[in-house]
């Protein structure tokens, strides 16, 4: 049960962020960037699919698609940062940079999992995440050290998304159990490296690290911001409206 829950958390973060990023398709600031963002979304959908297949096996009852399209808001465990709206390009880049830095550290650890499936899925994901991190880092530099306008927009984005970074390192009883048994990652231990990597890029981008303040929390219990309900109602519309249909 804990392993299923743990797997769903990983799957859901990828799925929900992929759904968000795919919203950029045909709206990118350049054609090249449109293609790059679609690539990232495709990678994340692929990762979500892999973890959902494993979750489906563990569940023994629901298919990966049923897990994606037939659960309600309170049954989703994605990190709240992933469900936040795309906003402007700087918002999307900052959200991606925070999450990809985290994912890089997380999958690096999870690829050593005693659970072979999780380890294998992590190795594959890590390759992709390295590119996502590179992509968002290079944009952090260009936007932070670009024009006054881009700097301000990126600083505002840092400020907004900061409140969702506390969740990345939270550990509840499921995390503790998984980490102790060698299956999962001790997320709280990732924070030092995350801080280091994030600070370095923020400095290089001539931006300022936001001051630690109140951190949002809740996703591990299925508590979300208002953003998620709208995202799901759109994403799940067809399978919900035509429950007997195959597509």
């Amino acid at each position: 049960m804990s392993l299923l829950n743990y797997t769903l958390r990983i799957a859901d973060s990828s799925l929900i962020l992929a759904q968000r990023i795919s919203g950029w398709c045909s709206k990118g600031p350049t054609l090249e960037e449109d293609i790059a963002l679609s690539n990232i979304a495709l990678d994340l959908f692929g990762q979500a699919n892999g973890f959902l297949e494993y979750a489906s096996k563990l569940d023994g009852n629901k298919t990966p698609d049923q897990l994606a399209f037939n659960r309600n808001e309170r049954e989703f465990f994605n990190l709240q940062i992933t469900e936040q709206e795309n906003g402007n390009f700087a918002d999307t880049i900052v959200r991606q940079f925070f999450f990809s830095t985290y994912s890089f550290l997380f999958y690096t650890e999870l690829s050593k999992s005693t659970d072979e499936t999780l380890a294998a899925l992590s190795v594959k994901s890590l390759k992709e995440v390295k590119y996502h991190l590179q992509h968002s880092k290079s944009w952090m530099l260009r936007l932070g050290d670009g024009t006054e306008e881009s700097k301000q927009k990126t600083q505002d984005a840092l400020q907004y998304f900061w409140q969702f970074t506390g969740e990345l390192f939270e550990m509840d009883e499921v995390d503790i159990e998984m980490s102790k048994s060698g299956i999962g990652v001790g997320n709280s231990e990732l924070k030092t490296n995350w801080d280091k990597m994030v600070n370095e890029v923020i400095n290089q981008s001539t931006l300022e690290r936001p001051v630690d303040a109140y951190m949002q929390t809740g996703s591990k219990k299925g508590l979300h911001t208002e953003c998620l309900g709208h995202l799901l109602s759109e994403m799940q519309y067809l399978p919900r409206a035509y429950p007997n249909a195959k597509w």
């Binding site: 709206k27 698609d65 399209f69 670009g146």
Partner: protein, 307 residues
């Protein structure tokens, strides 16, 4: 003298390359045609992009997103091919925004159900492939090579579209109804994608002589109809044309009258989505302005630092 050599080269089926001499009219014809083609790929991202967020399965979502991404890639090749003729991508986009450059009118129709993802892939991409296969032999080298690359990916898209239609046609009664409705809405606009009947097509003359265009509109349209009728039958749908029937003598299907008034009306801006499609593109372009500026400014600073 130049013109004679140019024509000899074309008659020998040699490709014209960017640095070769070419008549100005050849150049401007190509710019018009290739940019229209590029804009079609880019505007064509929107009707399918409309369903990415609502695709009904993980697999369907990944296939659709990858497909729309391919179209962006095709747009890139084609803009690059066009740039070899001495015009920049910015100028081309400006022409699109000013209404001076056109894109395929089919994208001014809305996508109203998931079955439309099937119809667009199967019929719209299907019709595009028939045209593009013919254009692989076009006389301008960069355009011809672009077409070879694009055709490979398009045939994937067409199969994926047909698969969606087939799946829905054998699905629940509601799904079958959606599939038939999509076919009804997209059939006529798809066969009109080949353009006016040759008797009414003003620019065919030189385009054929210069081998920019290799086959007549009506020939290509007939080829598409002949190959599609069988596919429709296999999945148990009906083509919305009571006059469609096999003509033994011609060895082709006869088909009904196309509504050219509607076609020209949509081309001239009165389709259901003309304003929406162009506004979407303009909005994305103008919202991206500060990002492009930031990237330029950053790269200028780096050049100074590294100098």
């Amino acid at each position: 003298m130049n013109e004679q050599k140019f024509q000899e080269k074309i008659d020998l089926e040699r490709k014209i390359e960017p640095k070769d001499w070419m008549p100005e009219e050849y150049r401007s014809h190509l710019i018009r045609q290739i940019s229209q083609h590029a804009h079609s790929e880019i505007i064509g991202m929107q009707p399918e992009g409309n369903w990415i967020s609502r695709a009904p399965s993980l697999r369907a979502k990944m296939i659709l997103l990858a497909k729309v991404q391919d179209e962006a890639g095709h747009g890139l090749y084609l803009y690059s091919a066009c740039e070899t003729l001495g015009i920049s991508r910015e100028e081309l986009v400006q022409q699109l925004h000013d209404g001076k450059a056109k894109y395929s009118s089919i994208f001014n129709y809305p996508t109203l159900s998931w079955a439309d993802m099937g119809a667009v892939g199967w019929l719209v991409d299907g019709a595009a492939i028939v045209n593009q296969v013919s254009l692989q032999r076009t006389s301008y080298g960069p355009y011809s090579r672009g077409m070879v690359k694009i055709c490979k990916e398009e045939s994937f898209h067409q199969r994926q579209g047909y698969e969606i239609m087939a799946e829905m046609a054998k699905g629940t009664p509601e799904q079958k109804e959606m599939a038939q409705d999509a076919l009804n809405r997209f059939w006529w606009p798809s066969i009109m994608m080949f353009g006016p009947q040759d008797s009414d097509s003003p620019r065919t003359g030189n385009a054929m002589k210069w081998k920019i265009k290799r086959q007549f509109n009506d020939e290509l349209r007939q080829k598409f109809i002949d190959q599609t009728v069988g596919q429709v039958k296999v999945i148990g749908l009906e083509i919305p044309d009571p006059d469609l029937k096999w003509n033994e003598e011609r060895g082709h299907y006869d088909f009904g009258k196309m509504n050219w008034d509607e076609f020209w009306s949509v081309v001239n801006g009165n389709g259901p989505c003309n304003i929406q499609r162009l506004d979407h593109h303009k909005k994305a372009h103008s919202e991206g302005e500060w990002v492009r500026k930031a990237a330029r400014s950053y790269s200028n600073k780096q050049e100074i630092i590294n100098a």
